[in-house]
Subunit: 207 residues, 2 copies
Amino acid sequence: MKTPNPTRRSERSRQAILSAAFDLVAEIGYAKLTVEAIAARAGVGKQTIYRWWPSKGAVFVEAVLDLSRDERGELALPDTGDLRADLRGVLRAIVDEYNDPKLDAMSRALSAEALADPALNSEITGRILGPILEATRERLRSARRAGQVAADADLSVAVELLFGPVYHRWMLRTNPLTHEYADTVVEFALRALAPTQGESDSVSVKG
Amino acid sequence: MKTPNPTRRSERSRQAILSAAFDLVAEIGYAKLTVEAIAARAGVGKQTIYRWWPSKGAVFVEAVLDLSRDERGELALPDTGDLRADLRGVLRAIVDEYNDPKLDAMSRALSAEALADPALNSEITGRILGPILEATRERLRSARRAGQVAADADLSVAVELLFGPVYHRWMLRTNPLTHEYADTVVEFALRALAPTQGESDSVSVKG
């Protein structure tokens, strides 16, 4: 007879809790979300949640950041050395997320609340969006060191060149979000960020 | 003794009505907006509004589009031949609008409602955003004819390269919206859209 594996059981509870937090924000909004409701939906006791997280906000933030973490649990963009491929992967994944009905509903509900509540907005910006933008800037810094991005490019604006168009199209539902679209945005961004002629010369001279 | 000028009086009423519609959306939201409330706030009779507009939606759309019209009442971007200067003017104006507390409040209230109401969203996208994006595409088409934009550039994505970053920064309040920022976005977009080496050669050969 096998003994139950506590790690696997914990991971199952963890996933159920994160998933419940997600669904509830889509259904009732963040303001009405409670730890009690998450526990009931996930089929766990309230104390199980409090053992791992201090608040409903902490559960929800982890649920969202979980989507962007790699298999080691780190929030970093892939760095294969191929900037085009890495950025395409990121933007295609975002397009897939927005095309997922559950994630779309959750994101719209949360965005509507954040519009009306600057404190919630700065929570989201600081704890969810901020780390994702910083991970992207870090990937662009690495590309800059490799001579693939202009030395003087403002990377805070560069990340908005990637995410801004996708976000605009998603929020305003102007046109379909496809992988082809994601690739086109990456292509424009790569041209915008490319080293100037003189720079790439000096890089090839140095190399 | 001067006789009252009816054109001037009408224009004053028109401005008062548009301004009332605007303020009311910021204060109570679009859903609760009524022609009665607009009339009361503007200090005119309901019939004055119905003489010029068929519905509250028509008043509101005109109030927003009025911001983007030139002195001849046309929704067109300036075309001085200097693409950089023209696009800087547009993005700086958008930044100024977002930094205007009244317009910021109205836009956030409306965005929150549109998130929850796809029909309202498609009304806004079709009647307000659509014409503005199309006017911008038209300016880029003119630039393409002048050899300033790559022949194969997807102009539906190009307009999102301009508006997307500004919108992302405004919605998510990540960083200040300044003229310097607007100019940086234009600079990136111009690089992204620039004709490739071969293209610009052939233009200069033709010229």
